[in-house]
């Protein structure tokens, strides 16, 4: 890794990694819509003031301006909250950027419920579904700060637009220091044989916790982190889902069109056991005092994942000796 990372903050990691990219390539530029302190693109502004554009509270213009910059040879990173990147600027992403397949990087920061205090207007439950629906868009959801940095180091290899979903809070580090990240790579957080949990973002550590609990009950759970949501690595998903009794997906977004849907789209033509989705059940968010409290409110917990695993395993006939 090019950065000595002393933080578990994904957005801090994003800002630091963006500065590194800026050092390597003078064509990297950054755009912000008055949320630079939160997204941490201010770090880039401090280093490269001429290549940082404060666009004001005007996300639509920021997106199409990014398109113009890309059309003239720049590699723009536009950062704002996920809810605005995916909602407010959708038509601009679609037409100015995705149709011509421009190399624009969209940072959807404070994604999911992670902006716990601001409530439903600022929490993005639908950004994964929206971004996934756009042809040509690559959708990334890093699991921790280390993975953010590793992704940013390789992001230039991805042709066309990229959406990178960044959590607002510090998250436990799961990604090993060694080894490269490559687009589409799935990695096994924990081996197991009875059930598989495909997890995204903050839910990966919850899945690991659930697996530890379940191992005490004699249920062996494989945990897979799939941080490239689109294009989903079909063969890797199929392989990861093979040989187990049941499948659980865990995401911090609406289950309608989200991460679980992406996994099941891949598995639709394969023989597979029972499936459960852990995610937001088609509703908007709410303000909370802290992140964990909010995750609990929406059933995005290790306990919920463990229950889902128990359910699919039971439906498949149970585990020998358990």
């Amino acid at each position: 890794m090019s950065i000595n990372l002393n933080t578990k903050s994904l957005r801090e990691a994003y800002g630091l990694a963006l500065v590194e990219l800026g050092k390597k390539d003078k064509n990297v530029v950054a755009l912000e819509a008055d949320l630079g302190n939160s997204t941490r693109s201010v770090l880039f502004r401090a280093e490269f003031p001429d290549r940082h554009f404060e666009m004001g509270i005007a996300e639509q213009n920021m997106a199409s301006t990014s398109a113009g910059l890309a059309l003239a040879g720049k590699i723009p990173f536009m950062s704002t909250f996920a809810v605005f990147a995916s909602g407010r600027a959708f038509d601009q992403l679609r037409n100015s950027i995705c149709i011509p397949k421009l190399k624009v990087r969209v940072c959807g920061s404070s994604a999911g419920l992670s902006d716990f205090g601001d409530g439903k207007t600022h929490q993005s439950v639908e950004d994964i579904a929206i971004m996934r629906a756009l042809p040509n868009m690559t959708v990334l959801a890093p699991v921790d700060a280390v993975e953010v940095v590793k992704m940013m180091e390789r992001i230039n290899e991805i042709d066309g637009p990229v959406y990178i979903r960044i959590n607002r809070n510090d998250l436990p580090t799961l990604t090993p220091e060694a080894g490269d990240w490559t687009p589409g790579k799935l990695w096994t957080v924990r081996e197991g044989s009875d059930a598989v949990v495909f997890a995204s973002g903050v839910m990966a550590s919850k899945a690991l916790e659930a697996a530890q609990v379940l191992s005490g009950e004699g249920i062996s759970v494989r945990v897979i982190n799939a941080s490239t949501i689109k294009p989903m690595n079909a063969s890797a998903v199929i392989q990861a889902a093979s040989g187990v009794k049941g499948i659980v997906t865990a995401e911090e977004s609406n289950i309608s069109g989200g991460f679980g849907s992406a996994i099941l789209e891949v598995l639709r033509a394969e023989r597979h056991g029972p499936v459960e989705f852990v995610g937001i059940q088609d509703c908007f968010g709410v303000s909370a005092k802290n992140y964990d409290e909010l995750l609990e409110r929406y059933g995005l917990t290790a306990y919920a994942i463990a229950q889902a695993v128990r359910k699919v395993v039971k439906a498949a006939g149970g585990v020998a000796g358990a």
């Binding site: 639509q60 213009n61 199409s64 003239a72 037409n95 100015s96």
Partner: protein, 340 residues
């Protein structure tokens, strides 16, 4: 001042663009006639006079950029691009069909198209991005963005207008095609936007008002816009929707309409008459020519080559006092005044 020969030639080009447009429209095919033909003169002036374009390479790094924010008028752009030789005119008959490449709105798979536009209100933002990139790379090229007057109701366009001022993108010229009709009726009834000029001025832009069918005015305004430093310039072009098609002028039905065989023939007759008129006018001004020449000689500063050189020599300058730049009432005055 641009010489009368050039002006006459550009008028002929504009007419040729309308002929190309007619060929694409054909008979019984639905197409955006009105908002395409209102732009014929402006598009001719840009592609065949003002803009740096390379006929052999549509992607030449040193080209100026043309963005049609009102993407539905793309037929008139196709008319120009084919005339430049970017694709064969045989594509005209296959426009908007699976057999051809020419799409209903600008698509970057077509040589010479610079951006995907058509969802209205986005072109100016794209233009701002291009202008910023050109400036970062210290390139002298300009970006031209054509908008519609109906399109001015899109909020994003005004976000872009504010950004263009904030970032002082004086390498961008906006052009508003004020043809006063939109898809379902007169702009004054559908969504009236009063004081367009005042609005752009209030957003900090240098504003030039012209008749968008008078080639002399178009060329002078484009020249003047290129000399303004520190603020972006918008040319508000008063035009007639359907211009040149006698039966379609000022009629909202031809925003996106089709032609009968009779109308097709009428348009051909209209263009033949227009060609004659251009010849007549050229002959008339040829007689007057010596007088015009003398006047031009008296004011060497107004001569195009001298001004162009001066503009090229100057690196892009940080804002001249904003107020002075904005206070430019007419293109003629600006052309005569050399800015220091």
């Amino acid at each position: 001042m641009t010489d009368t020969g050039t002006i006459t030639s550009l008028k002929k080009t504009a007419l040729q663009l309308r002929r190309n447009l007619l060929e694409m429209l054909g008979v019984g095919k639905v197409g955006h006639l009105g908002g395409s033909s209102s732009l014929a003169e402006i598009v001719a002036a840009l592609y065949f006079h003002k803009m740096k374009v390379n006929r052999n390479n549509p992607k030449d790094e040193n080209r100026d950029r043309f963005l049609l924010s009102k993407g539905h008028a793309v037929l008139i752009q196709y008319a120009a691009l084919a005339e430049l030789g970017y694709f064969p005119k045989s594509e005209f008959a296959k426009v908007k069909s699976l057999a051809g490449t020419l799409q209903g709105h600008p698509d970057m798979k077509i040589p010479g198209i610079e951006a995907v536009t058509g969802s209205l209100g986005q072109g100016l933002s794209i233009g701002v991005g291009m202008a910023l990139a050109l400036r970062l790379d210290k390139k002298p090229n300009r970006v031209y963005v054509i908008m519609g007057d109906g399109e001015l109701s899109e909020g994003q366009l005004w976000e872009a207008a504010m950004a263009a001022w904030k970032f002082k993108v004086d390498n961008l010229t906006g052009i508003v095609d004020c043809n006063k009709l939109q898809a379902t009726g007169p702009t004054s009834e559908i969504f009236e936007i009063p004081d367009i000029e005042k609005k752009w001025k209030a957003f900090g832009w240098n504003v030039i008002k012209i008749n968008g069918h008078k080639m002399e005015e178009i060329v002078a305004a484009l020249d003047a816009a290129g000399k303004v430093r520190g603020v972006p310039t918008v040319i508000i072009a008063n035009t007639v929707k359907g211009k040149g098609f006698s039966f379609a002028e000022g009629k909202a039905a031809f925003h996106n309409g089709s032609l009968t065989e009779e109308q097709f023939r009428q348009a051909q007759a209209d263009f033949d008459a227009a060609a004659l008129a251009i010849e007549k006018e050229a002959a008339k001004s040829a007689v007057k020519k010596p007088a015009v020449k003398k006047a031009a000689e008296k004011k060497p500063a107004a001569k195009k080559p001298a001004l162009k050189k001066a503009a090229e020599k100057k690196p892009i300058k940080k804002p001249v006092a904003k107020k002075t730049a904005v206070k430019k009432p007419s293109p003629k005055k600006t052309a005569a005044k050399k800015r220091g």
